[in-house]
């Protein structure tokens, strides 16, 4: 395993962890399985690529990307809270519609950003003494942890706590005076805003936006959340949970990259990426029991090798 592979995995893990935090907000906090993500991630990429390709300010591009994500989340919330569609259908509708929207925004299926001025280039120019291999991970760490701390703070505010309670016991929080349509709208907007931010950063980092780049986003986001949760188990304060999502994302990306790099020995091809991600989700979902089994096998080997439980 090479050093540069690990650095790349770290960078990607960090960029995607912002998306995973978005998935964490809907799936874990709000208890709302939101599939909008597969559309709002490329939406963030498309909006910022369009602006940057035209020579616009990359920071402004990021802000517009987030705004687009917020709107996408708002649309899903509208389908669910006003039109009373199920949460799954609401997300699927927005996700599908965003495919066309993204194509329209980009005007073609792929926008290359090589040689364009992205935020990475701009920030690099502020620190000429650092190489991009040093600067990029530090920059991403800074962005990710800023997002994390803001999110932690928000989830501790009166509104943030009402959002958490909405996912935990909706009847109860309504009887305490919270309009749960409102908390769902806020949660979905925030979540997809973060996902689009992640998409925007990923496009600038990888040097392109592609209309198909969103496929499977939700699966990798879920994988990160689940891997992270199996790490911290029940130590469930919000601070810990968000850290675990970030670490989960880094572990997930590292695993995927290693599998892609060395997986050919097991017969994997680059096109198997999505297959690998689903495998990872399935394995990590069964991980706690997996670990339990290993433990009983080890313990029983010491005595007579027969499983008791």
């Amino acid at each position: 395993m090479t050093w540069s592979l690990l650095v790349h995995a770290l960078e990607q893990g960090l960029v995607f962890s912002i998306m995973a935090l978005g998935v964490f907000i809907t799936f874990q906090i709000l208890n709302f399985p939101d599939l909008t993500v597969d559309g709002s991630f490329p939406l963030g990429a498309a909006i910022s690529a369009k602006i940057i390709f035209a020579g616009g300010d990359p920071f402004i591009a990021v802000i517009w990307a987030m705004f687009g994500g917020v709107l996408a989340g708002g649309l899903t919330a509208f389908f669910h809270t006003r039109l009373k569609f199920t949460n799954l259908l609401s997300g699927i509708l927005t996700m599908t519609l965003l495919y066309s929207v993204n194509l329209r925004i980009m005007g073609k299926s792929n926008i290359p950003l090589l040689g364009k001025v992205t935020i990475l280039e701009v920030i690099q120019s502020w620190f000429p003494q650092l190489s991009s291999d040093q600067l990029t991970p530090v920059l991403f760490l800074f962005v990710v942890f800023s997002v994390k701390f803001l999110l932690d703070y928000f989830l501790g505010t009166e509104i943030g706590m009402a959002i958490r309670a909405t996912g935990d016991n909706e009847q109860m929080i309504r009887s305490l005076g919270v309009d749960t349509s409102g908390t769902k709208i806020i949660g979905l907007c925030l979540s997809n805003g973060l996902v689009a931010l992640s998409g925007s950063l990923f496009a600038q980092y990888s040097g392109f936006a592609d209309v198909g780049m969103g496929i499977g986003t939700i699966v990798s986001g879920l994988a990160s959340v689940i891997i992270g949760r199996s790490l911290i188990r029940n130590r469930g304060s919000i601070n810990w949970m968000t850290v675990s999502v970030i670490i989960g994302s880094i572990i997930y990306r590292t695993t995927v990259m290693v599998a892609l790099r060395y997986g050919y020995r097991l017969g994997f091809q680059p096109g198997d990426l999505k297959l690998i991600s689903v495998l990872l989700v399935v394995i990590s979902l069964t991980f706690p029991s997996f670990r339990g089994k290993i433990k009983t096998i080890i313990l029983n080997n010491g005595s007579n090798g027969v499983e008791n439980e």
């Binding site: 703070y153 928000f154 501790g156 505010t157 009166e158 509104i159 943030g160 706590m161 009402a162 958490r164 309670a165 935990d168 016991n169 009847q171 109860m172 929080i173 309504r174 009887s175 305490l176 005076g177 919270v178 309009d179 749960t180 469930g236």
Partner: protein
């Protein structure tokens, strides 16, 4: 204070499961009243509380609280007037949040903003409130509510329901699913708080003794109607035997009605 005008509620209308849960409920409850509600299973007691709280809307009739018509107001709006404890201890608290976070959720009933939900001041306040319950909850304030027993959760719910002095407190058989011992404890906590804050209260109970011991007015419901409404001197003279007789009389009438239908 609370006025229900000719409330009708029918579930699953037009199907074979059609249930007339409430059939023309009229009642006027004064400020400071403590109403106890009895009635057999399916009489419509919980539906009545749901109509008051806005969890469900009536087919017909009006609900007024404090002179304001709230018939079409949503549940979260009415929450500024109403505190509620459910029969199921799981329903009144957020399990994956801590005790102090649950209490923090109950301070404000509207106008939540971007202030931190928990701070030094309200933590101290919660600790004192919990200590008064004498259940040891004050020492586990940062523990998740899912770790608590049913009785502890119900005590917490009572505290949360009354934190923001509600105009009306709704109790729906809130001690029915608990062991006798802890049930007594929760009941005494409830009565203390109701008296201290002089809350207008509606308490549904299946326990006739409780129905007569607590409060100043008792109603009996049957098949969506109020069939007995006693208070004052009249109520003083009522015995559990009398209530039981009323019940058996009802069952006999049922029988006759059914027979007539069959003929």
């Amino acid at each position: 204070m609370l006025k229900l005008i000719n409330i009708h509620k029918c579930f699953a209308k037009g199907t074979s499961h059609e249930t007339n849960a409430l059939r023309g409920i009229k009642i006027n409850i004064n400020e400071g009243d403590f109403l106890t509600v009895i009635g057999s299973n399916g009489a419509g007691k919980s539906t009545l509380l749901n109509i008051i709280a806005g969890t469900i809307l009536p087919d017909k009739g009006r609900v007024r609280i404090n002179g304001q018509d709230v018939t079409n107001k949503e549940e979260h709006f009415r929450a500024r007037f109403i505190g509620r404890v459910f029969q199921d201890p799981l329903m009144g608290t957020a399990p994956s949040m801590t005790i102090e976070e649950n209490l923090a959720l109950s301070i404000k009933r509207f106008g939540r903003g971007l202030n931190l939900g928990l701070n030094k001041l309200n933590r101290e306040y919660f600790r004192n409130k919990l200590a008064q319950l004498e259940l040891g909850l004050e020492d586990m304030i940062t523990k998740k509510v899912s770790l608590l027993s049913g009785g502890q959760r119900q005590a917490l719910t009572v505290l949360m329901a009354t934190m923001f002095d509600p105009k009306i407190l709704l109790l729906d058989e809130h001690t029915a699913s608990l062991d006798p011992e802890i049930s007594k404890k929760i009941q005494s906590i409830t009565q203390d708080i109701v008296q201290e804050k002089r809350l207008t209260t509606i308490m549904v109970t299946h326990n006739m003794q409780e129905a007569l011991r607590y409060g100043n007015r008792t109603i009996m419901m049957d098949r969506g109607r109020i069939i007995l409404d006693v208070s004052g001197a009249e109520r003083e003279n009522i015995t559990i035997d009398y209530l039981l007789k009323q019940f058996s009389k009802l069952r006999k009438e049922d029988y006759i009605e059914d027979e007539l239908v069959l003929v």
